[in-house]
């Protein structure tokens, strides 16, 4: 059974990331920028990276991949981001996670990313929730977010290339 109910926005916990933003574009356009590879490639990642468009993969269904490689603007180093989608409710809700991935320094516990898009006509309000961050995940990411993705990918590369 697939649950088509959009979950409520959670109350922020100390160990979670919770961000809300408003964008000056209709919801179906913002949805497109999260779920279509050519548009996702235009913005994902912090200021010091860009996305390699050839690496973007979005299989828009539960169990599908949502991933891409970020490339450092200076060094050219690749920082892969790979998530498995768990809930897809166009054009309002997207949920993905890294579930218990085995890594060289231990298991990665669930880290869930959830994105809500709220329709306000010409404006779309987005809520992004990420967490909880467990101590194990903290170990993985002591060198930062990008470094963690790098390590996760090194492990994944052994399996599904």
């Amino acid at each position: 059974m697939i649950d088509h109910t959009v979950p409520d926005v959670p109350v922020a916990a100390d160990t979670d990331v919770l961000i809300t933003r408003a964008f000056a574009a209709p919801r179906d356009i913002v949805w497109k920028f999260f779920t279509q590879p050519e548009y996702l490639a235009r913005w994902f990642g912090p200021a010091t990276v860009h996305v390699d468009p050839s690496t973007v993969r979005v299989d828009l269904h539960p169990g599908g991949t949502w991933g891409l490689d970020m490339v450092d603007n200076d060094s050219g180093e690749h920082y892969p981001m790979r998530a498995k989608l768990t809930v897809v409710i166009p054009p309002e809700y997207l949920e993905g996670r890294e579930a218990n991935a085995q890594t060289s320094i231990g298991p990665l516990e669930d880290i869930v990313l959830r994105i809500w898009l709220h329709d306000h006509g010409p404006v779309t309000r987005m809520t992004l929730h990420q967490g909880p961050f467990t101590p194990q995940f903290r170990d993985m990411t002591r060198d930062g977010w990008l470094e963690s993705f790098h390590k996760v990918d090194a492990v994944l590369a052994g399996g599904a290339a």
């Binding site: 000056a24 920028f33 235009r42 913005w43 987005m126 903290r138 170990d139």
Partner: protein
């Protein structure tokens, strides 16, 4: 091999994962308190609260000092600040990404509107 700093922050996050311990920290933010005072707002025995205090002390989030016959818990803000800074890195990742999304959407909307005007 994990560094000493990594071990420490892991302990901090494990300590913060519990809502009762977060509530205890929130209470200590307004001043030092004894076990009796800390147990009061919770439906919890003093030994249970003491157990939480030991976890918080091990994580470096509080220190405990004996004053006369009472033992007072004191919030150690530095450990909490380090954990917060780590969380802020994730927030920064998304803030910078979403700034770029904002720009990309603006460009898209502008191109789209220009296109519509030309079609009219």
């Amino acid at each position: 091999m994990p560094t000493i700093e990594t071990d420490k922050l892991s302990t901090v996050f494990a300590a913060l994962a519990d809502p009762t311990r977060r509530a205890i920290l929130a209470r200590l933010a307004s001043g030092d308190a004894t076990v009796t005072e800390l147990a009061e707002p919770f439906a919890m025995s003093q030994p249970a609260v003491s157990k939480h205090l030991r976890v918080l002390e091990t994580a470096g989030l509080i220190s405990r000092a004996k004053v006369a016959t009472a033992r007072y818990s004191h919030l150690e803000a530095e450990a909490l600040r380090e954990a917060t800074e780590w969380m802020q890195r994730y927030t920064r990742f998304w803030t910078e990404s979403l700034d770029r999304l904002d720009d990309a959407l603006a460009q898209y909307m502008e191109a789209h509107e220009t296109h519509e005007r030309q079609e009219r």
